[in-house]
């Protein structure tokens, strides 16, 4: 069942999703040419191949709020240094292996405590939503960070459409799991599929976005195509990729890293230089591209925007 949201935005402002989501044309980017040679021998449908390699310009992207003036990381760094274990454990594995993931058609299940649970085609979900550029810092729990110009929109826009009931206290997200397309997922390094979650106030916060692109183009698979979460004040593992399900729950979701090592990875995972990982320090970080390390900032520098969410909360206990 597909739900069409009421048109409430002038048609002149609607992103032409046919353009940015249409990957049926094979795009001859440099990456595409190289990967084209590599995948030529694989038994992929031509459409699937084109879809996973193509990167479309996203038109009508407006500058968004909360952006940083810090130098952005290069497109090459952002797309070649990734943690996406379903494609391998090495930082370069996702850029090498993620081309096998088909990202179109893409369906997202919305269920749990919402007015009308349903499955949506991504095109229908995004219809009528203006897209913004959000230049955010992303801080990995491993103590490296980047500055990334995401293209996305506030998660709250979608949540309001779904009409969560009063029972909904959390949003749980799930990443796609396809063993045939994700070679690394055959190893139970984590309990697949990858699950993450936010408290409702975190999900509704204006900083929290769903991203569909970066540097003005649609996401490459290694960055979580076609749609992923970005929660910039939390460690990067919270910013779940390639979302196929959003479930509104009454109880705190069991998240992947927390299940794997509960004493090392918490549910909140707020960036906090005063609360160390049990085995390594969180006091400093390496900004990719810079020679010297730099101090880590409370809430990754978004202290002004989000500190109030955690008033009175023991950040050491609820890490």
């Amino acid at each position: 069942m597909l739900i069409q949201p009421p048109p409430d935005i002038a048609s002149s402002e609607i992103t032409e999703e046919r353009i940015f989501l249409n990957r049926r044309e094979f795009i001859h980017t440099a990456a595409g040419a190289t990967l084209g040679v590599a995948t030529g021998g694989l038994a992929l449908g031509k459409d699937a191949e084109a879809m996973s390699l193509g990167q479309e310009e996203i038109p009508n992207v407006q500058p968004g709020p909360f952006g940083t003036d810090e130098p952005k990381n290069s497109f090459e760094d952002i797309t070649s240094y990734n943690n996406y274990y379903e494609f391998g454990l090495d930082k370069r594995d996702p850029s090498r292996n993620a081309h096998t993931l088909t990202t179109s058609p893409w369906t997202i299940r919305v269920d749990g405590h919402v007015a009308k649970p349903a499955d949506y085609h991504i095109e229908d979900l995004l219809k009528g939503i203006p897209l913004e550029e959000r230049v955010y810092r992303l801080r990995c729990v491993e103590a490296w960070s980047m500055v990334i110009p995401w293209v996305g929109f506030p998660l709250s826009t979608l949540i309001n459409r779904f009409q969560p009931t009063s029972k909904a206290k959390y949003v749980e997200f799930t990443t796609v799991l396809r063993l045939s397309e994700m070679p690394g997922a055959r190893r139970p390094v984590l309990d697949w599929p990858y699950v993450e979650g936010l408290r409702m106030d975190e999900a509704m916060h204006p900083l929290t976005i769903l991203a569909v692109g970066l540097y003005g183009k649609t996401l490459l698979n290694q960055n979580g195509a076609p749609i992923r979460l970005v929660v910039p004040w939390k460690y990067g593992f919270k910013s779940i990729k390639s979302i196929v399900r959003m479930r509104f729950t009454a109880d705190q979701p069991r998240t992947a890293w927390n299940k794997a090592t509960p004493n090392e990875y918490g549910f909140f995972a707020n960036v906090n230089p005063t609360v160390n990982h049990p085995r390594w320090s969180q006091r400093s970080e390496r900004r990719i591209g810079r020679f010297f390390r730099q101090p880590t900032l409370m809430f990754n520098g978004y202290d002004d925007q989000v500190a109030s969410l955690y008033n009175g909360m023991d950040l050491r206990r609820f890490f």
């Binding site: 090459e76 090592t261 320090s281 400093s284 390496r286 990719i288 390390r293």
Partner: protein, 200 residues
Amino acid sequence: MSLGSLKRAVFVACVLPVLWLVGRGFTDDLGANPIEEVTHQTGIWTFRFLLATLAITPLRYLTAWSRLVPLRRMVGLFTFFYACLHFLTYGVDYWFFDLDAILDDVINRPYITAGFTGFVLLIPLAVTSTHAMVRRLGGRRWQQLHRLVYFSAGAGAAHFLWQTKIDLRRPGIYVGCLALLCGIRLWERFGSRWLSKVTR
């Protein structure tokens, strides 16, 4: 092949990893986080050379090929060489930021305590590696001192395991090899005595 040419060949082989790393640096093939890659590579090669050094005597024991023993010093010193590179890279990564942070790490981060211990234990071994030193210490004392290598290896294994994010398979393989090599030495030392006790 003469011992001289064997030694030269092994020397070249030992230098290749650092040359390859430097080459990757010049061709910008170290990825987005080059200092982390260098730290990782120098660390892993330290462990590999340590395993190679520890494998020489067991190999000689198993094969009776005495040509291996003169190589042991060279391979051992290369272990120390890569350990120095590894420690320096870590130092460059952190020191320019904060000496306090380094001290804090060595004291409070178990994996760094273990790594630092492993490195420091190699220093007396490197210093006493010369023929002159063997003569000065006398064979027996030299041998006793050089048993420190097992403690260094254990510290190195702890260092590797403690910092691995989630996939313990890789350090597990290295630690397994280490356990095997130690096992062979223990058997060599105590095996026949234990056997004769048990089978009396």
